[in-house]
């Protein structure tokens, strides 16, 4: 009987075990598992590269993202302009880098802030229950009974377009999910015996729920933060398609990609939308990979 690949792997492990040559690096199981997830590691690497590139954009590109050079518009990629130039002769590569700053700031910032709000409310409400929980639950239900993009549209049209408003809206629409997650986690943690032990000492609610319980609820929240980062970045792009995103004078990935609406550009000037489309997709993909990797590595029920 031919040995399957699994069998071969087993033989290897067994040999290692018998020769006592297995790696005994002292790393936490979660880190280990995450590092074993090739996609997640790849995601983390690319994620880091994109973030660093955005942060150090001025060092990486000699151009100013706002500098218009009408005489050199719509040039294909060249040594001078890696991603070519756009309709006003701005360097697309530079704009993608600078756009990344804003887009990532919006995505990550909104995700983290909505998580902060959601957790703050969710932890307390989940642990304490009572009318606070009822009210917070109702409010989150109101927000969640709208399809998110519809609510965002509604709010954008009410508050007007600006970076700050957009983030505020993302937080407003995003905290509900985090709240529910934190709450659900708290509800199950509340039954854990160490929590009951703390209660039997009469410790304050604040200490119990934010100091002792919260750290144990963090891993699914981390996963959720990554996933909402991805979602917010995509929503930002979708909103700029509808003309309701970040004001056009601020370069964001969504605003840059928006030129693809013009079929002429879509057909003839691939460099104006291709690279940024790929960067958005790859970045979101990486964030998703990281999220998935985190989920797998922190989920005790799955072995691998």
């Amino acid at each position: 009987m031919a040995k399957s690949s699994l069998d071969k792997k087993f033989d290897q492990i067994r040999k290692r075990e018998e020769e006592k040559t297995f790696s005994t690096k002292k790393r936490s199981r979660i880190v280990n598992k995450f590092l074993n997830n090739r996609l997640a590691v790849l995601g983390l690497i690319i994620f880091t590269i994109i973030i660093l590139a955005s942060i150090f954009a001025p060092l990486l590109s000699p151009y100013d993202p706002m500098r218009v050079d009408l005489r050199s518009m719509r040039q294909p990629p060249s040594f001078d302009h890696w991603f070519g130039t756009d309709s006003t002769g701005r360097d697309v590569f530079t704009r993608v880098l600078f756009g990344g700053r804003v887009s990532i700031f919006i995505g990550l910032g909104s995700a983290i802030l909505s998580a902060v709000v959601g957790i703050a409310v969710g932890c307390y409400a989940g642990y304490k229950g009572g009318w606070i929980d009822v009210i917070a639950l109702r409010i989150s239900e109101i927000f969640m009974s709208f399809p998110q993009i519809i609510l965002v549209l509604l709010l954008v049209s009410i508050t007007g377009q600006s970076l700050f408003n957009l983030m505020a809206i993302f937080i407003l629409t995003g905290w509900g999910g985090m709240y529910r997650l934190a709450r659900a986690r708290m509800l199950s943690l509340r039954e854990e015996e160490y929590v009951q032990a703390l209660r039997s000492f009469g410790l304050s609610t604040f200490t119990i729920c934010y100091k002792h319980m919260l750290p144990n609820a963090l891993s699914p929240i981390m996963v959720n933060i990554t996933l909402s980062t991805a979602m917010f970045i995509l929503t930002e792009a979708g909103l700029s398609f509808l003309g309701l995103g970040v004001p056009l004078n601020i370069p964001t990935w969504g605003n840059i990609l928006n030129v693809a609406q013009d079929i002429l550009i879509l057909q003839n000037y691939w460099w104006m939308w291709g690279p940024v489309g790929i960067v958005i997709s790859v970045f979101v993909l990486c964030v998703n990979f990281i999220g998935d990797g985190l989920r797998d590595s922190t989920d005790p029920s799955q072995q691998g």
């Binding site: 996609l39 109702r138 239900e141 109101i142 969640m144 009974s145 709208f146 399809p147 998110q148 993009i149 519809i150 549209l153 509604l154 709010l155 049209s157 009410i158 508050t159 007007g160 991805a230 995509l234 792009a237 979708g238 398609f241 509808l242 969504g254 990609l257 693809a260 609406q261 079929i263 879509l266 057909q267 939308w273 489309g277 958005i280 997709s281 790859v282 979101v284 993909l285 998703n288 990979f289 998935d292 029920s301 799955q302 691998g304």
Partner: protein
């Protein structure tokens, strides 16, 4: 619940700049209209009444089943709904149908072949599916299939002379597929993890211990149980689907509720915005109710109203 939401939306609209009348005037011609004319229009539309009065009027007529009239064109909102809701339903249901079937089967395959090349590539493909901005995906699909290859129409829903169902199918293919593909990825991930979850449960071992063939164990015992959370999660994603269809409707000139909503929001057409928002909420709430019913059908534990 609906009441609270309606009040919040109404007050929100009150806060937004301008009203329906000022939106009826195009900016290029705006300077030619006098303030008196505008006031006369406001009076005619009842916009000079206080906010609460207007809300009360709107609410009472709504309760009586009268959705009122769109301000921009004076068209009965019920009529607009009759035209746009089926379009959106058509689109999202087709997308939901395909994405569920495709997502579930791929997810199950992925779970059963866990760790294999198939699983990995499906996972990556699924992730990629949710990582591309949907309008971008839609536009590229148009470029490819409608403009370059000319296989499918660029958009629209009904065409003159297109009477039969068969005639209309080409129009729905692209938008629904694009929407479905975005959904599939999610459904697949849910199905996969749910299936993995179930496969680790003890009754799967029990089923195996009865000496049944693997397919029966996996499908009858595994998938059947995994279905419940998948159905619930797909239900929870329904708002996402409806939201997603908003953008796809724009891209494909699909005359649905989403594009109508965007127009009415831009035009501050209060009655229309209100009705559509509430309809969205209603759909979401109904969906969750349907999901409850469905889960009850699928899961006997819920059916009997016990834990």
């Amino acid at each position: 619940m609906l009441l609270v939401i309606s009040f919040l939306v109404y007050s929100g609209l009150e806060l937004s700049p301008g009203d329906a009348v000022s939106h009826m005037i195009s900016p290029e011609l705006a300077s030619t209209i006098t303030a008196e004319q505008l006031d006369a229009m406001r009076e005619a539309y009842g916009l000079n009444q206080s906010f609460l009065t207007r809300y009360w009027i709107w609410l009472t007529s709504m309760v009586q089943g009268d959705m009122g009239y769109s301000m921009a064109g004076g068209v009965a909102i019920s009529e607009i709904m009759v035209k746009t809701v089926p379009a959106t339903l058509e689109l999202s249901m087709v997308a939901l149908f395909f994405s569920t079937i495709l997502g579930c089967s791929l997810g199950v395959i992925s779970a059963l072949k866990r760790g294999s090349g198939t699983d990995n590539s499906l996972t990556v493909a699924g992730m990629a599916g949710v990582s591309i901005p949907e309008f971008f995906f839609g536009l590229v699909a148009i470029l490819l299939f409608a403009i370059e290859l000319k296989w499918l129409p660029v958009g629209g829903r009904l065409l003159p002379h297109y009477e039969t169902l068969w005639d209309r199918i080409p129009n729905i293919v692209l938008p629904s597929l694009v929407l479905a593909l975005m959904m599939t990825a999610g459904a697949m991930r849910y199905a996969r993890s749910s299936m993995l979850d179930v496969l680790a449960r003890e009754f799967i071992t029990t089923a195996r211990s009865k000496g049944m063939p693997e397919w029966r164990v996996n499908i009858l015992h595994g998938f059947r149980v995994a279905l419940t959370p998948v159905v619930v999660l797909i239900g929870f994603r329904l708002p996402l689907l409806i939201g997603g269809s908003t953008i796809i409707e724009q891209v494909y000139q699909w005359p649905g509720i989403g594009s109508m909503f965007i127009r009415s929001v831009r035009a501050s057409d209060y009655p229309l915005v209100m009705t559509i928002s509430l309809m969205y909420v209603f759909v979401v709430l109904t969906a969750s109710l349907i999901i409850d019913v469905l889960t009850a059908l699928i899961d006997p534990r819920v059916r009997l109203g016990k834990e």
